[in-house]
């Protein structure tokens, strides 16, 4: 029997919306719906940036016809998917994911009006996705710091739906934060040059040892070097 792929959570492109309040939905509910945005946005012009050409139609297709969802997983700031998720998740809004996404449990997860699927999340995967998205929008951890900078799941996790035990490779972080030597220079202490967390005696370690995406970040050095003065962003809720 094929081992069932464990949990796929997030994805990248679009909106995960009122799933947050409604909880899980059944397969029937995931059928392509009218996908009208009119319940909230009677007129798109109120939410479009200045100078944006008028949007035609009342559904998601009005956007996706020009803003093709990112299927490449590139690390790009303020991509359409980031903007849409930022606007609709967390304190700014609470919509079910299926307002825009199609989800057939264990079979597919896509976007209304589009044919591709990012994977086959189970209910537990969707639950985790919900949890992570709420963290991304609100927690104050590394994920929120990225949300504020317009970075959504794919920019770190790549184009696939991340698995529950997914991690982010250093090379991915360094796409924006690198190169390593330059990063290390930025964190070199003036007084004790040897106490540089980005150039330590541990050699080449994962960024995620200290920088946790969806939970509190901690300076690993301090586990042993209790007398070092070191701080880290995303350490706790602001």
């Amino acid at each position: 029997m094929k081992r069932i792929l464990l949990s796929i959570f997030l994805m990248a492109a679009l909106l995960c919306l009122h799933y947050f309040v409604a909880g899980s939905r059944t397969a029937e509910a995931a059928k392509p719906a009218a996908a009208s945005c009119q319940a909230c946005h009677a007129d798109f012009t109120s939410v479009l940036p200045k100078g944006h050409p008028p949007a035609k139609g009342t559904g998601l297709a009005a956007c996706t016809s020009c803003h093709a969802p990112d299927l490449t997983g590139i690390a790009k700031k303020n991509a359409f998917s980031s903007r849409m998720h930022t606007a609709h998740v967390g304190p700014k809004g609470s919509l079910d994911c299926t307002a825009c996404h199609t989800w057939v449990p264990n079979k597919r997860f896509g976007l209304i009006g589009q044919k591709w699927s990012w994977g086959a999340p189970k209910k537990e995967d969707m639950d985790l996705m919900k949890e992570i998205f709420i963290s991304w929008a609100n927690s104050g951890h590394t994920d929120t710091l990225h949300a504020k900078a317009g970075i959504v799941c794919t920019q770190c996790h790549g184009k696939e739906l991340p698995k529950a035990d997914d991690t982010v490779e250093n090379s991915r972080c360094l796409t924006c934060h690198g190169p390593m030597e330059k990063l290390a220079l930025k964190t070199e202490p003036k007084d004790f040059k040897g106490r540089n967390p980005h150039k330590s005696h541990l050699g080449d370690i994962a960024c995620t040892v200290c920088h946790k995406g969806h939970r509190e970040s901690k300076v690993y050095c301090l586990g042993c070097h209790q007398n070092f003065q070191m701080k880290i962003q995303g350490a706790a809720k602001p």
Partner: protein, 519 residues
Amino acid sequence: MREEIKEKPEVEGVSRRSVLKGAVTLGALAAGGGIALNMSMPGTAEAAAKKLPAKWDEEVDVLIIGSGFAGLAAAAEASSRGRKVLILEKMPIYGGNSIINGGEYASSDDKYHIRQKLNLGEDSTKQHFDDTMKGGDYYNNPALVKIMVEDAPATLNWMMDQGGLKMREIASRAGGHTAYRARTCVAGVGRCFTEALKKMAEQSGVKIRLETAVTWVWRKDWEGPVLGVEAVTGKRTKNIKIKHALVFASGGFGQDIKMRQDFNPSITPSVNCTNHKGATGETIRYAQAIGADALQLAFIQLYPFAEPETGILDTSAVFPFRGPGIGIVYVARTGKRYVSELDRRDVCSRAAIATDSKPTYSIFNEKMTPLLGSAEELKKGLENGRFIKAETLKDLAGKIDIPADVFAETIRKHNQYLADGKDPDFNKPITAKMLPIVDGPFYALPQWPAVHHCMGGLRINEMAQVVDVWRKPIPRFYAAGEVAGGVHGSNRLGSNATPDAIVFGRIAGTNAAKEKPMA
């Protein structure tokens, strides 16, 4: 009775067979169900809950718990024999205590014959054996010690030849050793050994899964083999089946204060520890729960020269270890010596604690520094305030606030002892390689004992098989490194841990790979 499968690792020209590629075996693997062997207290939730998994989430040929010296060496050997190897590491970085260890390796010889080149006198495996046994008060298992000292040189060469390991051109005489046999890797930290081993392991396809903690060992009955483990990654629990063997290389329990207290209450909770935070003893208990025997758990070593406040063993804290053979002097806050610098770690630690005044100091001068560490280490130690430097002994005494006249007299007397070849105060065996402390600048380094190494652990035999409480090997179950006991007796000699872990890691990995696949 099973056949003996002891095999010494091949040293020269190990051919690296190609390794099975691809993802872990898919498919639900039938486990047979039933109740797992379980020593939990009857009636407890754990005892009731531990049923053998109805199906397995994953299967690997050789499963190794722990990614330090022993685990990586076992992985390199098993994978080079074509086995698919997975290492589980509970911490977020690989390497355990090994990656932060002092980078010292005791060996009577090496391919470059560094000791002979530096004209540092004689040594032999026999002499290394005798020192190790004596240093452990003969509580050591002689058969295991013999393997360690005999395989140490070849294993050092193996890492240089195949892992790119580089060594410094020094050999130190450390406490309890009668020869200049402690070798130092170039980086002066255990990471150079872990990097060499990891390179070898990964070349043949070994995977390391971080932040994954073992939470149970599966075994069905007292006769049968270990079947696999339960392990947790984040919120996910998986049952991982072994096809060939399980190797425990999970280290000691120096950071497990409760366990320290269980076996050696004299080491109070407030005593510092040089170990990484993951050095806790749960894997020993999981092994015991399926019948494994353990021995000598009360033998817990303090490192006499740790950083006094936090207990870490930084690069500066290795200087006092390398110093005795060249005449370093340890003084108490009274300004007097308190021990023979060439004595064993347990003796040095006890003597320091008996001064009842933290810290004590290592004293040396400029001339000695090239033999104690690299110029970079010295510079760094000065920058971060670890080494205290002064032009005169009087100034040095002032800076560390000890009585200057007593201190000056201590150094003068010690210089005289070196000239006389006799130490009437502590009976230190004086050698011609020891240097008097005459010219400045002078240095002091504060030091204080901290928990460092657990000599006791799981009982293993010469094949690195874990032995049960009836002295029978538990089929398919191996252990190596600090998690295993019996090599060092009551007191490990400094720089013996690295050859112990790597030599027995190789034996465990070699024998694990040779196990026939489980039906």
